[in-house]
């Protein structure tokens, strides 16, 4: 069963009708409905393209959070070989909201780190909905150190609503862990590529995305605060999330105009969740291209490049 978002309701109706016709035809062989069903399919396709062509910022948030959107694990399985997960922060625990390890990307060894949200109730609980605790960031720091020592490029996949707001997380230094992870991103002398594949939730995302090159999927979002959070603070009404999403400029397109990200990765029509394979392949191509662009840089040049990128950020605003 496809999960439809609220704005996809008219689409769901058409696709449902086509499905219904085909079911009827299966039980009644005399009926010839194929032509009618095909017409509905065409209508649905056109509507899908139309809907996704002009997604509002809030709708993009919904697409970015779509439960069937490919998650970190799907990307790792499809794009990497010999993936060998490495666990634990050597202090307290292994955080399942963050997965990472060594793997081969186009035969070259790399370190891959990402937030994993899970795709059913059980796995979502296991992965804590992609909300990392300090241990997750400290695991990432450990893996980045490993990459630095053995000269392996680092690829991070960002998909988190934000760092986990919990009692234990605070007691064990959530903010310190995030700060150190960002610091580590800036210190390593190997290429660091980051792709926002879904939600780039605030500080929890920055801790992985302080990279030489940052790319975002077309319908992913990256924001200082969730639209709901922003709405409840500035509008004193969490229901104003549409307005907040608009004001925050959290889409890949806006971030690209602001010079915060380097590349937008196109998604198949109807979003990554409808054609996961295609979306994942596009991300793979982008990572490969971005890595190639950094391959001849020395460790010092890579560190300089990263610093320069962030230091010069904010020189231009949006033109309206």
């Amino acid at each position: 069963m496809t999960h439809y978002l609220d704005f996809e309701k008219p689409l769901a109706e058409i696709e449902g009708k086509a499905e219904e016709l085909r079911t009827m035809a299966r039980t009644n062989e005399d009926m010839d409905i194929e032509a009618e069903a095909k017409a509905l399919d065409t209508k649905a396709d056109a509507m899908l393209i139309d809907l996704y062509k002009k997604l509002t910022p809030w709708r993009k948030c919904q697409v970015a959070r779509h439960p069937e959107r490919p998650h970190c694990k799907n990307y790792i399985d499809a794009l990497f070989t010999e993936y060998t997960p490495l666990a634990g922060d050597r202090n307290f625990a292994d955080d399942h909201a963050v997965m990472g390890g060594i793997a081969r990307f186009h035969d070259k060894p790399v370190v891959v780190i990402g937030h994993e949200k899970g795709n059913d109730t059980q796995s979502r609980i296991t992965h804590n909905f992609g909300m990392a605790r300090p241990e997750g960031y400290r695991k990432a720091i450990r893996l980045m150190d490993l990459a630095d020592r053995f000269r392996l490029p680092v690829i991070t996949l960002v998909d988190t609503p934000g760092a986990y707001p919990g009692k234990g997380a605070e007691e064990r230094g959530q903010s310190e862990a995030i700060a150190r992870s960002t610091e580590k991103c800036l210190q390593i002398g190997v290429p660091l590529i980051s792709v926002v594949i879904g939600e780039g939730g605030s500080g929890g995302a920055v801790a992985f995305a302080t990279a030489n090159r940052v790319a975002m999927l077309e319908h992913s979002v990256y924001s200082v605060i969730s639209p709901e959070g922003c709405a409840s603070i500035l509008w004193k009404d969490a229901e104003k999330m549409r307005e907040a999403a608009e004001a925050l400029r959290l889409t890949a397109q806006d971030l690209h105009s602001l010079g915060v990200i380097d590349r937008i990765i196109p998604e198949p029509s109807g979003g990554a969740h409808r054609h996961a394979k295609q979306a994942i392949a596009e991300v793979g191509k982008t990572i490969q291209a971005l890595l190639a662009g950094l391959s001849d840089k020395s460790p010092e040049a890579l560190i300089r490049d990263r610093r320069k990128k962030f230091m010069s950020m904010g020189k231009r605003g949006l033109e309206i």
């Binding site: 760092a163 986990y164 707001p165 919990g166 009692k167 997380a169 605070e170 007691e171 064990r172 230094g173 959530q174 903010s175 310190e176 995030i178 700060a179 150190r180 960002t182 610091e183 991103c185 800036l186 210190q187 605030s202 500080g203 920055v206 801790a207 302080t210 990256y222 924001s223 200082v224 605060i225 922003c230 603070i233 500035l234 509008w235 307005e243 907040a244 004001a247 925050l248 400029r249 959290l250 806006d254 971030l255 602001l258 915060v260 610093r307 962030f310 230091m311 950020m313 904010g314 020189k315 231009r316 605003g317 949006l318 309206i320």
Partner: protein, 309 residues
């Protein structure tokens, strides 16, 4: 009657009301309710003389008390692009900025100064919670970078007083990008071998704690300051249980190993002098009150000309 009610009575009232004390002469401590006289309270660094509650202190008031003789020079901060997102919630961002500027008399939420404390040259930066919740804007990022660059240039330590609710929402992703930018500023100090001392004041939360405010060589907090990443209400809603007494307060963080020290504001200056002089390999500080310098402008300029240590 009319003449009396309409003219005489208001006149009499206005004469009497004029003799009332100005509003700001007395402040009520929000912790113990004691009425404190304004002179007493500013002499006591805005710490309640009855219950030692630490009230808010503006960056200027803090610098006046921190630097020798209250003398310091503002370090210039480059201006960022104004309102880069054309942000508008119920109010326009430029209007919110103007209101904050009017309220505080400051340009933005961070002040950077250079001067001496206990004859120890430093660069200091202080965040102003009264200015849009001290929120980390592009200006704040620029201020921290300017502070770090100046400290490196003068070979001095940087003391940073943090106070903020987090990144400034009205600058969206560019507010968030101050996390890596300020982290780079901290790295500049570390590479130059200069101490970076953070004094966390009430409250310091969100993206500010998750960047420069948690990366100090020495982490000091003022008593009872609220320090954390996520807001207590959000945590309670997420975990659906009551949080313990003192959660996310300075003493709680000290207990959990997240801070080096919790220090009363009235002892903070001496402590900073002691720590900095040791870390910088200087001679022990002179004890007792130092006389205010006489030729003030010259003194403020002087440290820059001194040979580097």
């Amino acid at each position: 009657m009319n003449w009396i009610t309409n003219y005489v009575r208001p006149r009499i009232n206005s004469i009497f009301s004029r003799r009332e004390v100005p509003e700001n002469l007395w402040t009520k401590c929000d912790e113990c309710g004691t009425m404190l006289f304004h002179r007493e309270i500013s002499d006591n660094l805005f710490v309640c003389s009855n219950c030692s509650h630490h009230m808010a202190i503006t960056p200027r008031e803090r610098f006046d008390a921190l630097f020798d003789g209250g003398i310091y020079v503002d370090v210039p901060v480059p201006d960022p692009v104004a309102d880069p997102l054309h942000f508008r919630d119920q109010k326009k961002y430029p209007d919110r900025m103007k209101a904050a500027q009017k309220k505080t008399g400051e340009k933005e939420a961070m002040l950077v100064g250079e001067g001496e404390i206990g004859r120890t040259p430093i660069v200091a930066a202080a965040q102003d919670f009264g200015f849009m919740g001290g929120s980390m804007s592009m200006f704040v990022g620029n201020a921290i970078i300017a502070a770090a660059e100046r400290a490196v240039e003068l070979n001095r330590p940087l003391v940073l007083f943090s106070a903020a609710g987090g990144a400034r929402m009205q600058e969206g992703i560019l507010g968030l990008m101050q996390m890596p930018r300020t982290t780079i500023a901290v790295q500049m100090l570390k590479e130059a071998g200069l101490p970076y001392i953070v004094v966390l004041t009430h409250p310091t939360t969100g993206g500010v704690t998750a960047s420069y405010a948690m990366l100090g060589d020495v982490q000091i907090a003022e008593p009872n300051a609220l320090i954390g990443f996520a807001g207590a209400r959000v945590i309670e809603q997420t975990i659906r249980e009551k949080l313990p007494e003192g959660f996310q307060r300075a003493e709680y963080l000290l207990e959990h190993g997240m801070l080096d020290r919790v220090t009363d504001r009235r002892h903070l200056r001496d402590e900073l002098v002691t720590i900095i002089r040791m870390l910088m390999g200087m001679t022990p500080p002179v004890q007792g009150d130092l006389p205010a310098p006489e030729d003030t402008p010259q003194l403020a300029e002087a440290p820059a000309d001194k040979p580097k240590k």
